[in-house]
């Protein structure tokens, strides 16, 4: 579904459903360099199970016009503006990686409008190595390789994909190949520079769920667990075989956890 946010075209996948202000809403926020389709199975499920599903394309990603937003707080406010454009008062947020930081910040900034947040593949601080940032700044293929390889569990290139016939590395590389120059760097820099995580964790009032991949090479589960302890009452779900791309690597386990949390 197309919206106008800040005067620019913005897109959110709605599982081919019209939005109904009377239904609860679940918003999906993707990670660095990716788009709404990374939540394909999960967002479709909620769209067909009594919710308004809104899987976002942040500016400069997927079908939303650029340029990309430079900081996590800007992205958090953009989510609210999109909810305004969709005429939806409240929503639960499901964020992955960069999108998880956005969900956390959004819940802390706008407690009256955010009902629950699920944070997938999150660590805080979300520091990015200089080599990764440099490669992304120069739009070198190496940056896309790092995003792809560290973005999955070590066994992924050799193991079976639960989605029949698909190769996860190829899918990630293909998506990154469509990015405009500078978008991945902008996202990584936003993650690297985000300094509001502890304050947001202390201020968040709504129920929080962490979903962590035990074999995450991008945001280690150990770091995610330490951060989860700073969020009072947070529920933690660990998915043993998953790396950072939990929604693709363990789609059913992620869906089951989200369905229980957002019930």
């Amino acid at each position: 579904m197309n919206f106008i946010v800040d005067g620019r075209p913005a897109f959110a996948y709605t599982a081919a459903h019209a939005l109904d202000p009377g239904k609860p809403t679940v918003v999906f926020a993707h990670g660095a360099g990716l788009d709404h389709s990374w939540f394909g199975l999960q967002s479709r499920y909620f769209g067909y199970h009594g919710r308004n599903a809104l899987a976002l394309d942040f500016p400069g990603h997927g079908r939303s016009a650029g340029p990309p937003l430079a900081t996590i707080p800007e992205m958090a406010d953009w989510v609210l503006k999109l909810l305004d454009a969709a005429k939806l008062e409240k929503a639960s947020l499901v964020g992955h990686s960069m999108g998880a930081l956005v969900a956390l910040e959004c819940a802390a900034r706008h407690p009256q409008r955010i009902e629950r947040i699920a944070l997938l593949g999150i660590a805080y601080p979300m520091k990015v190595s200089a080599a990764f940032l440099d490669a992304a700044q120069e739009n070198r293929q190496e940056a896309y390789d790092m995003e792809t390889i560290w973005g999955h569990a070590p066994q992924v290139p050799l193991g079976g994909n639960p989605n029949p016939g698909m190769w996860m590395y190829g899918d990630t590389l293909a998506r990154l190949s469509r990015l405009a120059p500078g978008v991945l760097y902008s996202d990584l820099k936003a993650c690297h520079g985000y300094a509001g995580g502890e304050a947001a964790a202390a201020n968040v009032k709504c129920p929080v769920q962490f979903i962590l991949g035990r074999r995450d090479q991008m945001t280690a589960a150990k770091a995610g667990l330490v951060f989860a302890q700073k969020v009072p009452g947070a529920e933690v779900v660990q998915i043993a075989p998953s790396g950072h791309s939990l929604m693709a690597e363990s789609p059913d386990a992620v869906l089951d956890a989200l369905a229980a949390f957002l019930a």
Partner: protein
């Protein structure tokens, strides 16, 4: 700093797509000879049918053994995924049927495998899909043939029977400038010798019957998508970018982005046309792929020895192999196919049809049959078999001479193969 590394080709050929079976610990790929899959409950069933969960429903759409082959081929080609089919012809049909409707147009090389030529030149025309055939030697030939209703450019890595090397980088540029994808039949080269996506192709397929399976025991095909063609930006493919009533008003591109083409190919193409691969077939082809990186160098090594033998034999008129300096695409082959130009090629025996027939019938190691890409060496003489009804003049139009012989060089001792060919050539000249 050195970045993270991808697994090498040989490792992917053995492992990609499969982890040891979680229930039994089986290391080899299990053959899931099942038509269907038990649902946990009604909710689970509904979620699978509605694509809210990953998994298998019915083996015409997907099967765990076949899925290993599909993922492995996607990994070896550098694609997003693949759909395995009943044959290479079914893969070509699936690609066309996914991308276009009646009234559409294809620009294809005129040096295609005969089966592909039949499908495009005759059969698909009955269904309103027209094809213009062009000589693959110049990318401009493709550009000039593009029409407003063109939806696909199509060629082979190596043409038939002259092994014309398609300039994939140049032809893909022509395609992309016109907002069109380039489909490649990569059967003769396999991903070991060339990965067409790295040169700009968007889609490719294999007759897996040939070198991928490699042992002449199973018929199959596999269609692979690079995921890099932007269907939305092209604006020419409502099949992928507009709601489709035949699949609950799904907009495949909106739904799945990089996976749009394969999603429709599987969910509509396999569902409705039904040319799926059987799990036993997938197992046979996987067994072949596990040694692809060992077999292909040997195929090429022996082919080079045989090409050199034939090129200097007085009973041979000409040998068509791109590694020979006299081949029109010699320079392009050096650029695109540095590991070799495969193991299927043609040459002309002096003396016409009768000489060709005597040659074939004198061979003892080469098997006289209509296939290529086997571990065993194969031979056919078109003028006395597949093209026997055609006059010499019509043969010439098809690029085949009365003495043209096609070889598929296998994995036997190269010295035995050369001795066999020497015997045949001696008989041909009697």
């Amino acid at each position: 700093m050195s970045g993270p590394k991808y697994p090498g080709f040989d490792t992917l050929a053995l492992h990609a797509g499969q982890s040891p079976d979680a229930t039994t610990g089986a290391r080899a790929v299990p053959i899931y000879a099942t038509t269907s899959y038990v649902f946990r409950d009604s909710e689970h069933a509904a979620s699978l049918f509605n694509m809210e969960r990953a998994g298998h429903v019915y083996s015409r759409i997907s099967n765990p053994t076949v899925a290993v082959l599909e993922e492995r081929m996607a990994a070896l080609e550098g694609g997003v995924g693949a759909v395995a089919t009943a044959s290479g012809q079914a893969a070509l049909h699936l690609a066309v049927a996914t991308l276009m409707d009646a009234g559409s147009h294809i620009v294809a090389c005129n040096s295609l495998y005969g089966g592909s030529h039949n499908l495009l030149g005759y059969t698909l025309r009955r269904f309103g899909i027209d094809t213009t055939f062009v000589a693959p030697g110049s990318p401009e030939n493709f550009r000039k043939a593009i029409q407003p209703n063109t939806r696909l450019l199509f060629g082979e890595t190596l043409g038939n029977p002259g092994l014309e090397v398609l300039d994939i980088p140049a032809v893909s540029q022509v395609a992309h400038e016109a907002g069109l994808p380039l489909l490649i039949d990569a059967t003769f080269t396999t991903p070991y010798l060339m990965q067409p996506f790295a040169h700009g192709a968007d889609l490719l397929y294999h007759s897996a019957t040939k070198f991928l399976g490699g042992h002449g025991v199973a018929i199959g095909g596999v269609l692979v998508d690079s995921g890099r063609f932007d269907w939305e930006r092209s604006g020419k493919f409502p099949q992928l970018t507009a709601p489709y009533a035949g699949f609950h008003n799904m907009d495949f591109e909106e739904e799945s982005g990089t996976r749009a083409f394969l999603l429709r190919a599987r969910r509509e193409g396999l569902r409705d046309f039904g040319a799926c691969m059987a799990p036993m077939t997938a197992f046979h082809i996987l067994q072949g792929i596990e040694t692809l990186h060992l077999r292909m160098p040997r195929h090429v090594e022996s082919t080079r020895k045989i090409v050199n033998f034939l090129a200097s034999n007085a009973a041979v008129d000409k040998v068509l192999y791109p590694e020979l300096p006299g081949h029109p695409d010699h320079a392009l082959a050096k650029k695109l196919l540095p590991k070799g130009c495969g193991a299927v090629f043609s040459f002309d025996v002096k003396g016409g049809r009768e000489a060709g027939k005597r040659f074939i019938e004198s061979l003892r190691v080469f098997s006289h049959l209509a296939n290529v890409g086997d571990a065993k060496s194969l031979v056919i003489h078109p003028a006395s078999t597949t093209h026997y009804r055609m006059s010499d003049e019509d043969l010439k139009k098809a690029g085949v001479g009365p003495g043209t012989v096609r070889l598929s060089v296998g994995l036997e001792d190269a010295a035995d193969l050369i001795e066999d060919l020497s015997r045949g050539l001696h008989a041909a000249q009697k």
